[in-house]
């Protein structure tokens, strides 16, 4: 890890004043230190925001909940209100990484973590997503890579809380010296394109992610998240799904299905969700939605298995959300 100035800030204004040039913002530090240890980034300054009190806390409001950027994944996973009314988020945070990581990792950091690809995260590969001119994953080892939106960079979105928040149609609050703006999580992440391959989110260099706002769920809303990995104790997702259902009696009135580890950004499976609307949730409808979510998949040389795994993850998570199936004991986390 390179040497750096540690700029310890106790207010948002102070942190904003420090975010210049080579500075990198650090909260829990899990993703930032990992990339520094890999030599992928060598920031001259770390702006520490963990001592800013206003970024803490889970607050119930008239319109939903407001989550401070520094709320830890453990706090999200253990929170009774989130467990009961925003289950998909509590599940996603509570099953991310390890207990030790969940105690340190923050919601803001989890949302801001960089995409997953071992070429991108290695200093030995000057890849497209790091601002160079080629992608190593197409002809290389790509078993954990994307099966959608693979045309520029087939890395995957790693944040499980982003999957949940996208399903809940939450927004992130971005603060700069000029003021605040809200951006829906569904519009926060950017698919890599040829012109701006290095951009991952719409956040500007002078903006700090300060909070997440989730709208109050409509009556009859049920939700769930499940993640599949190579081992069950803890793992990065190779396929994960967040499902939010708005039920009226037995009939589904509204549905959102979001996939992680499928694309460089959390993927909203709109057509699959539409198949559930106006019908009771049954094994048949859940299966049909899972299969429909794979329409248009473009798997790479080594990850065709994901096209079979995702429908199972989606089907089981729809039934879990509807209360018609237990949590899968073989799911990860």
């Amino acid at each position: 890890m390179n040497k750096f100035i540690f700029s310890d800030c106790t207010s948002v204004d102070a942190a904003l004043s420090q975010m210049t040039g080579e500075a990198v913002v650090k909260a829990g530090g899990v993703d930032v230190l990992d990339r520094m240890k890999n030599g992928v980034i060598e920031p001259a300054k770390l702006v520490n925001i963990t001592n800013i009190p206003s970024l803490r806390g889970i607050h119930e409001t008239e319109t939903g909940v407001r989550l401070g950027a520094l709320v830890t994944l453990a706090e999200l996973g253990d929170h009774p209100l989130l467990q009961s009314q925003y289950t998909v988020l509590a599940d996603a945070a509570g099953h991310a990484a390890t207990p030790q990581i969940r105690n340190a990792a923050t919601l803001g950091g989890n949302l801001m973590q960089k995409v997953h690809c071992w070429y991108y995260r290695s200093a030995d590969f000057a890849c497209l997503r790091k601002g160079h001119d080629m992608c190593f994953a197409y002809d290389g080892l790509n078993q954990y890579h994307a099966i959608f939106d693979t045309n520029v960079c087939p890395s995957v979105a790693p944040s499980s809380t982003a999957v949940a928040l996208s399903a809940l149609n939450a927004s992130v609050e971005l603060t700069s010296a000029k003021g605040k703006r809200l951006v829906p999580v569904r519009e926060f992440y950017i698919k890599p394109d040829d012109k701006h391959p290095t951009m991952e989110t719409v956040i500007a260099p002078d903006e700090l992610l300060t909070a997440v706002l989730i709208p109050k769920p409509a009556a009859g809303t049920r939700s769930a998240y499940q993640k599949y990995g190579e081992k069950s104790s803890y793992d990065w997702a190779i396929a994960d799904a967040g499902v939010v259902l708005e039920m009226q009696g037995d009939v589904c009135r509204k549905a959102a299905i979001v996939l992680g580890a499928a694309s460089p950004t959390p993927r909203l499976a709109v057509d699959a969700a539409a198949l559930l609307v106006g019908k009771p949730i049954t094994e048949e409808t859940a299966r049909a939605a899972g299969l429909a979510a794979m329409q248009g998949a473009t798997p790479l040389s080594m990850n065709g298995y994901k096209v079979q795994l995702f429908p199972v993850a989606i089907y089981r998570t729809i039934l879990l959300a509807a209360g018609k199936m237990d949590r899968d004991p073989s799911a990860a986390g």
Partner: protein
């Protein structure tokens, strides 16, 4: 990280105000011998290091803004409360808590295995909450109380959890054991009567390549006075 303290660590540990009992031993151990050999080989590097320390002594700058403290990049004094004792170490901001404990305070009970938060071998507690010391900067610990494996036994008496680990032979190579014990002792602190599922969850981040998990589960349940369940694995 091996890169931050290999040679400078021993030189800087002289700046420590108090050193734990274990490191003050005068008898020659394997580790002590290696450390001594390292100092000889690296004496010139040390002198460079000391000069660097002075050059970068612009250690702490309090900016006009009272809400910003700029520290480093050179060594700065940091107070760490480890197992109830305060230590002052001179460390660079990039020094992880694991490195500060092992290299600067000589507390080598905490093991660094993957150095990326992926194995939990380096688990310590901050105010009784288990975290990865390899992914925590020592400078950001602040006033939180650090608990390490060296603080588990009290007054020369093994903790009941340690006794149970010995009885159940809950280790093979032993490298993951300090992290396992820290995870399990933190569990028993917050939940004195855990179920098997609770124990499994508590150590779900602790990798053991020897696969001693069933014995770790049995030892932890016994230490808690909980009857073992029929199938422990």
């Amino acid at each position: 990280m091996a890169d931050s303290g290999q040679f400078t660590g021993d030189g800087e540990s002289s700046a420590t105000t108090s050193v734990s009992e274990g490191t003050a031993k005068s008898n020659i151990s394997r580790r002590g011998f290696l450390r001594g050999a390292g100092i000889t080989a690296a004496s010139t590097a040390l002198i460079d290091g000391v000069q660097l320390l002075h050059r970068e002594a612009a250690a702490e700058t309090i900016k006009g803004n009272a809400h910003v403290r700029e520290l480093g990049p050179g060594p700065v004094p940091v107070t760490l409360n480890v197992n109830g004792t305060e230590h002052v170490v001179q460390i660079e901001p990039r020094t992880t808590l694991a490195d500060a404990l092992r290299t600067h305070l000589g507390m080598t009970g905490t093991k660094v295995v993957c150095d990326h938060g992926a194995c939990s071998g380096c688990t310590v507690t901050l105010d009784k909450v288990p975290v990865n010391s390899c992914m925590t900067l020592a400078i950001e610990v602040g006033s939180r109380r650090i608990g390490t494996i060296e603080g588990i036994a009290q007054n020369g008496q093994l903790h009941p959890l340690q006794v149970a680990f010995v009885k159940h032979d809950a280790m093979q190579c032993g490298f993951c054991t300090p992290g396992m014990v820290m995870s399990c002792s933190a569990l028993l602190e917050r939940n004195p009567k855990p179920t098997l599922a609770d124990v499994k969850k508590a150590v779900s981040g602790n990798l053991c390549r020897c696969a001693t998990y069933p014995k770790v589960f049995a030892a932890t349940l016994e230490a808690a006075g909980v009857a073992p369940e029929k199938s422990i694995s």
